[in-house]
């Protein structure tokens, strides 16, 4: 809970309540509803209320409207006794879930748009400070999310979908924007429901390229046999490695290379790449590379081709997951569900706007970078009293970047 004041929390709660009163029927109802565990945070307490279950959508809706939670979650798992304590629930299986969070990605924009706020002085400070220079109170971090962050997350989601469809052959998915910094993807195929943690870990390792062996691809031999080395048209990881290396050679994009190899080594490798690129034919010229370049390109390709997912989430077979189409209390945006086939077209900052844009609220903005909601663009501002569309005001209130005057 990042609200600056109780009044901020209570006005946001009022808008949340109105939203749920009007649109409860659009909330996602997970399959096998009575076997799922539910949990939620209220606006008032920091503790999650969990081990709940609902026998019908009506029961769930009633509870949500009555309580107006800040965040609502349900289990990816099915239980015999969803209300029992963890070890007595009787696990029956769980969907395979993926969380892609821009927070885990090394987006360069983060340094630019994150800041800290002193709740007492209502002032913004750089992330590097821990205590308020004026009053000495500890500062609260405000993590901003921009188009670049979400584009990076979308790219990871794209790669993930390719692993899930092209490699694993899964066909039943649902996808949602998290309402904040990323995307959730859930595999519903019957065949995965009973996979245990260790088996899920194998899938995770595949998706993240963990344990991928250069040797088994025939790339550690002194003299490379192009017949057995990875080629562009190969399936699975072999093809991914070949394509990524080929692109690195063709585009001469050295940024990743520097990250993998370090600046000092990178330069000699870059000279070698330039030489090789001149004679770049139709496939990867593994045989022309010296072992060190081969290894560096392999590592860079693995980094580029793997999908950066939150591995803890996927391996946890008891994990709670944000309820689709519910509101995210960190932003007031909706955890909007969408068709995974339309990942490329999804526009998070307009499709997830669920609170009114035609209603207005006056708030004191401590700090806000430039942002866009729906069709409306908001200019950067700091220490300013502003009349904003309710959805935008609530976004800032939820983040602790603004407060009621």
């Amino acid at each position: 809970m990042s609200f600056i004041s109780e009044a901020d929390a209570s006005i946001v709660k009022k808008f949340f309540k109105n939203f749920y009163r009007k649109t409860y029927s659009k909330l996602y109802i997970p399959s096998r509803l009575p076997e799922r565990e539910f949990g939620y945070f209220t606006f008032e307490k920091k503790l999650m209320i969990r081990h709940l279950s609902f026998n019908s959508p009506q029961e769930l809706w009633e509870r949500i409207i009555e309580e107006t939670p800040l965040h609502i979650y349900h289990s990816a798992a099915f239980y015999k006794y969803p209300r029992a304590p963890m070890d007595a629930k009787g696990w029956l299986g769980a969907e395979l879930i993926f969380d892609i969070d821009a927070d885990h990605l090394k987006t360069p924009c983060r340094k630019r748009h994150d800041f800290k706020v002193c709740k007492r002085c209502r002032k913004a400070y750089p992330v590097s400070l821990d205590l308020c220079p004026d009053c000495g109170q500890s500062l609260m971090k405000v993590e901003w999310v921009c188009d670049l962050c979400l584009e990076a997350a979308r790219e990871e989601a794209r790669k993930l979908l390719s692993f899930l469809e092209d490699d694993f052959g899964f066909s039943k998915f649902r996808a949602a924007f998290s309402g904040n910094r990323g995307y959730h993807l859930v595999v519903e195929d019957e065949s995965i429901l009973e996979l245990d943690q260790a088996e899920r870990k194998e899938l995770i390792d595949y998706i993240t390229g963990t344990g991928l062996s250069m040797k088994l691809m025939g790339l550690e031999e002194r003299i490379i046999d192009l017949e057995t080395a990875p080629k562009l048209e190969d399936p699975s990881w072999r093809g991914r490695i070949a394509k990524a290396v080929f692109e690195l050679l063709a585009s001469q994009n050295y940024e990743v290379l520097r990250e993998v190899a370090g600046d000092s080594i990178a330069q000699t490798l870059i000279d070698e790449i330039k030489e090789i690129s001149k004679a770049l034919g139709e496939n990867v010229p593994w045989n022309l590379m010296r072992p060190r370049l081969r290894r560096t390109l392999f590592e860079a390709a693995r980094e580029l081709a793997s999908a950066h997912i939150d591995v803890v989430v996927t391996q946890d077979i008891h994990r709670l997951l944000r309820l689709g189409n519910s509101l995210n209390g960190k932003t007031g945006l909706m955890a909007k569900m969408f068709n995974p086939d339309e990942l490329d077209e999804f526009e998070p900052f307009s499709e997830s706007v669920a609170l009114p844009m035609d209603d207005e609220l006056t708030v004191y903005v401590i700090k806000a970078p430039r942002f866009k909601l729906g069709e409306v663009e908001f200019e950067e501002c700091e220490n300013e009293l502003k009349k904003l569309p309710a959805a935008a005001a609530i976004l800032l209130l939820c983040k602790g970047a603004a407060t009621l005057p």
Binding site: S191, E202, L203, Y206, S213, T228
Partner: protein, 360 residues
């Protein structure tokens, strides 16, 4: 009477469902084995068990009887005998030996037969691939592959190093046979369990064989009660207890779990011979190799570094942590749990001694 070729496949793979049918049609009962006419079958059944004790995975098809009926009928009989001996270690070792024998025969068999057995007998989701991806002639469904390959540690079995296309994992015929080996083992064990749950009355000559085999078994292997005093499992963390129990039951334990337990036991000061006795419960136990490995972990060989016990984090990563450490009160290494509970046990002993002292 079935044709010879039919008999041949049944004799080679006596775990096939048709083999069972054939035996019941033949009208053999346990009583019939007291008839000297069937002495060859009884002898071969005994030989199967002796092979399990002596050869294990080194079993050789050349020990098979040329008489196919003998080969076929001796298999279920051996299972009944093993069940009557009631030694879990021997049961697993026998299952492993039979599975190894089947593996060796499968390697020489034609692919149609192999595929049929895999699919029809073991229900494996496997098929021949027309367009072979890099010399992989077969493919297995992702889920079956995961279930089957989990206990293998070689990087080449790891999913990330496989060719996986639309839910099919490409495998070679040899890999398929390796996966089938575990299925045969499971099958044999299940049948021993079944036979154990309803023990039949055995004719005298069979009872005599059982006694004979029992007397040749390596005298008393290590049983739980032998571990006493300060290294007793009572003081061990849940993760180590669980691996230990699985080893003692002769179950398949991953390479890493074995390493974790061995390094734990070395670090709590158990002597190497006692550790070796615990690992002797592995069905594929090889005294020489196991001793070398344990001495290596203890730092007596190779790099001469004594290995420390994997941390709780590492145990978690390898899926060996029990209940997310909830039972362990926030320790970071399984050894810390042991030291802590040892202190508690010592204190409890001291308290007890004091109470008793007061009484006297």
């Amino acid at each position: 009477m079935p044709s010879t070729s039919r008999l041949s496949i049944l004799a080679k793979y006596p775990f096939l469902p048709e083999a069972r049918r054939y035996i019941s049609e033949y009208g053999l009962t346990l009583e019939s084995f007291s008839d000297p006419a069937y002495s060859k079958i009884v002898e071969r059944a005994k030989q199967r068990i002796v092979d399990a004790i002596r050869l294990g995975e080194g079993v050789d098809p050349s020990n098979m009887s040329e008489d196919e009926v003998v080969e076929l009928a001796s298999f279920p009989l051996a299972i009944i005998l093993i069940a009557a001996i009631k030694d879990r270690f021997l049961a697993r070792r026998f299952a492993l030996t039979e599975a190894s024998l089947a593996t060796k025969l499968l390697l020489d068999d034609d692919s149609k037969t192999i595929l049929r057995i895999a699919r029809e007998v073991f229900g494996m989701d496997v098929k021949a691939e027309e367009a072979q991806a890099m010399a992989h002639e077969y493919s297995m469904g992702l889920r079956d592959y995961l279930k089957g390959s989990m206990t293998f540690n070689a990087p080449s079995w790891k999913l990330v190093n496989r060719i996986v296309i639309r839910g099919r994992v490409m495998i070679t015929i040899n890999e398929l046979i390796r996966l089938m080996k575990d299925k045969v083992m499971e099958y044999v064990l299940e049948n021993i369990e079944k036979a154990m749950s309803r023990p039949p009355k055995l004719p005298q000559n069979l009872q005599k064989i059982i006694d004979e085999i029992k007397s040749t078994l390596p005298s008393k292997r290590y049983e739980e009660e032998i571990i006493s005093g300060e290294s007793s499992p009572e003081a061990w963390p849940p993760c180590m207890k669980l691996i230990y129990q699985n080893v003692m039951k002769g179950e398949n334990v991953s390479h890493f779990a074995n390493f974790a337990l061995a390094s734990f036991l070395i670090n709590i000061g158990m002597n190497l011979d006692d550790i070796l006795k615990i690992f002797a419960h592995r069905p594929d136990f090889d005294q020489r190799i196991a001793r070398y490995q344990i001495e290596h972990i203890a730092g007596l060989r190779g790099s001469r570094t004594k290995y420390t016990t994997p941390s709780c984090d590492t145990m978690k990563t390898n899926g060996l942590c029990v209940e997310d450490g909830k039972l362990c009160g926030g320790v970071k290494n399984p050894l810390a749990y042991f030291r802590r509970s040892l202190r508690r046990l010592r204190k409890a002993d001291k308290d007890k001694a004091e109470v008793e002292g007061e009484r006297s």
